[in-house]
């Protein structure tokens, strides 16, 4: 059996090269996705990654991208398919029997967009993913990134249609008013709250103490999987990372923003 381990981290434009390399080694990461890469040097990070573990490649995007990609296999196995200012679609042709469509995204922040506009945006993105899947001809797709939304804001059939229940997702699609809408499974639902699934209740912490609604913990960084990938998904591998093995990214019960204001997430697909 072969495996593919994915790690996503919004690094808040900080230079966290050493931490990233340590995490890649610790978790044996094959596919590394970084949002808010800022002015960091991608080839510099590639060198550091190679010094820790062989074979990492930086996949230089054809156009602007929100999510930088590094892989631990030949670059020729990554096919760039689509980019827009929110997301990047790449085909991973690593497993001969199962091509994977990987969508890395970083949706606009709640700081710069109203809830209404976020709804518009989310629906656009979900529609585009659906369109590209139709062109590609299969739905072996996963979406990973900083959605800047909570799992409970991504349930609508018109948007990501991201259910919390694998068995519901395995129905593949649902018809609403004569239209077909495909499901995603969103395993991040399992991390809401403090019931031991993770050491923290989210991937981003913001105390809005002056507001009536204050989530404190936000589950903005997520992975969604189409039902066609669920048999490959190792659900126990999904983790909100709170340490690189020696340094904790949590301080006084909050995210230590000396590193990033977001925590990384990682998971594995088995084939």
């Amino acid at each position: 059996m072969s495996k593919l381990t994915f790690l996503f981290w919004n690094i808040q434009r900080k230079n966290l090269d050493t931490h990233i390399a340590q995490l890649c080694k610790l978790y044996d990461v094959d596919v590394l996705l970084l949002a808010e890469f800022g002015n960091n040097n991608a080839y510099g990070l590639e060198s550091i990654l190679k010094s820790v573990q062989d074979d990492y490649q930086y996949i230089k995007p054809f156009a602007t991208t929100k999510v930088e990609l590094f892989v631990r296999f030949e670059a020729s196995k990554v096919k760039q398919v689509y980019d827009n200012p929110d997301m990047s679609i790449r085909k991973l042709c690593i497993i001969p029997t199962k091509e994977i469509t990987m969508i890395g995204l970083h949706l606009p922040s709640k700081l710069y967009m109203t809830d209404n506009d976020q709804i518009i945006h989310q629906t656009n993105v979900a529609n585009l993913i659906n369109t590209e899947e139709q062109k590609i001809g299969h739905r072996n797709s996963l979406v990973i990134g900083d959605f800047n939304m909570h799992p409970f804001q991504m349930l609508s059939a018109g948007s990501f249609h991201a259910t919390m229940d694998k068995n519901i997702a395995l129905n593949k699609k649902r018809i609403v008013k004569k239209e077909e809408y495909y499901y995603f499974y969103n395993p991040m639902w399992n991390f809401l709250g403090d019931n031991n699934k993770s050491k923290v209740a989210g991937t981003y912490y913001k105390n809005m103490s002056g507001e009536y609604t204050n989530y404190h913990w936000n589950m903005f960084d997520q992975v969604l999987l189409r039902p066609d990938l669920l048999a490959n998904f190792d659900e126990n591998s999904l983790e909100i990372i709170t340490s690189n093995g020696t340094i904790s990214y949590i301080k006084n019960g909050k995210i230590d923003t000396n590193y990033s204001d977001h925590l990384p997430i990682k998971f594995t697909l088995n084939f």
Binding site: F62, K79, P85, N116, I119, H121, N124, N127, L128
Partner: protein
């Protein structure tokens, strides 16, 4: 035998719509780059969620996407998308470079499109895609 009169008071006249303007610019891109890059206009159905701004009243609105494609690379970049009401054409809502903008009429829409196309962001993307496509064209490499 006709059982009733034709009630369609229709004049065969083409008017300029937001889609006309986008399609013209898409075709200009294809022509300017001699087909190395292709401007594409794609129609999608957009679902208007509850809580959507009052600009639109129908649940389903046409969303028009302006793509730049490189057939040689097998790659597509979405430059912008436009949401409009088929009954009125304007105002329209434009998604470009992570911002949402509104154009009230044809004149302001044309001005906005010109600014988008001539922006540094767009120029950089076009130049990059064109250059990389030419490399693969000269190397005669297959798409996949």
């Amino acid at each position: 035998m006709e059982t009733s009169k034709n009630y369609w008071d229709f004049v065969d006249e083409i008017i300029v719509t937001p889609v006309t303007i986008l399609k013209e610019q898409a075709d200009f891109l294809t022509k300017t780059t001699k087909g190395i890059l292709v401007g594409e206009i794609v129609f999608e159905k957009k679902i208007i969620e509850e809580g959507y701004p009052k600009l639109y009243t129908n649940k389903f609105q046409p969303n028009v996407v302006f793509n730049i494609s490189s057939p040689i690379l097998g790659y597509t970049y979405q430059l912008m998308s436009v949401l409009y009401d088929v009954k009125e054409n304007y105002p329209i809502q434009i998604n470009f470079d992570n911002g949402i903008y509104e154009a009230k009429d044809e004149e302001s829409f044309k001005k906005f499109i010109q600014e988008c196309i001539q922006s540094d962001t767009t120029k950089k993307i076009i130049q990059n895609l064109y250059s990389q496509s030419k490399v693969f064209e000269n190397n005669n490499q297959p798409k996949d």
